[in-house]
Assembly symmetry: C2
DNA sequence: TCTATACCATTATATCATTACATCATGCGA
DNA sequence: TCGCATGATGTAATGATATAATGGTATAGA
């Protein structure tokens, strides 16, 4: 087991904010939250530093296509590759296991001579709630 | 057959620049190229507009994790989902067929109740040349 | 106490992208 | 031909995201 040193106050504040949001937030959105402001966090860099640490721990993931950050669905965090599916309408996002696709994807990259590091998968579409809403609109 | 109206001068200049670069460039990097500047393109917006059109035509892809743009490997362009593998060291990038992975990925998302639109896959690692270079370093 | 380390604060700046609005060229119907 | 709609373009300003540079504070251990 790797030792998981306890999070600092700033890191906890940011993680709690993301967990409560249940959707991806940009660093500046986090900064604007009352719960974050009242804890004394007031510069972008403070947020980014906390996010860096949380990402190292696997507790937060970055969504590249939104420039935003999402709390990991697992309390303990993880660094295995995962995918995300993001609602175009409400931005609700869900973390998905890649169900072995990462193996195939990695193999394609290796076939091209690359040594593969990270694999990121992001899908966009409509979440269940927004699908229903769209159906009602006709 | 869909009619493919001819590209405008700005669009051609940008596409040619990306094709010659053989790697992803940001909009501002494109803007700084002599070949682009001498054609009279001098504002970011001009570049972004050309890129929008080229992306609609499937002639250029956007790499989300770099905020950069890459010319499509096929002359005619396409809009099918593809993946990219990007060298962490030199930024050389290659477009990859997803070899049916997109079907599985889409299925996972649909299992979560999402209606899937776009699928984006980006991998990072080392390109063949940089792997060799790293090996020589020991 | 001294020093090393980790964490954090502040300001400024770099980087990426869009909004707002004016202009120009082209094509098309009256 | 004239008037007008349309779309591409130009310019300036701004918004949004992220990092650099510098230094302060707290704590732990020699």
């Amino acid at each position: 087991m790797t030792a998981k040193p306890k999070l600092t106050k700033n890191q906890s504040v940011v993680l709690k904010a993301l967990t409560r949001a249940k959707k991806p937030l940009t660093a500046y959105e986090i900064l604007d939250l009352a719960t974050v402001r009242t804890q004394g966090l007031k510069a972008p860099l403070t947020i980014y530093r906390a996010l860096d640490r949380l990402r190292d721990e696997g507790l937060v993931h970055r969504i590249e296509s939104l420039n935003a950050f999402l709390a990991c669905c697992e309390k303990a965090g993880h660094t295995e590759p995962v995918g995300f599916v993001i609602c175009d309408n409400c931005r609700k996002s869900v973390e998905l296991r890649l169900s072995d696709c990462e193996t195939h994807l990695g193999a394609s990259a290796e076939a091209a001579g690359f040594q593969v590091g990270e694999i990121r998968v992001e899908m966009t579409g409509l979440c269940p709630a927004c699908v229903k809403a769209a159906a009602r609109q006709g």
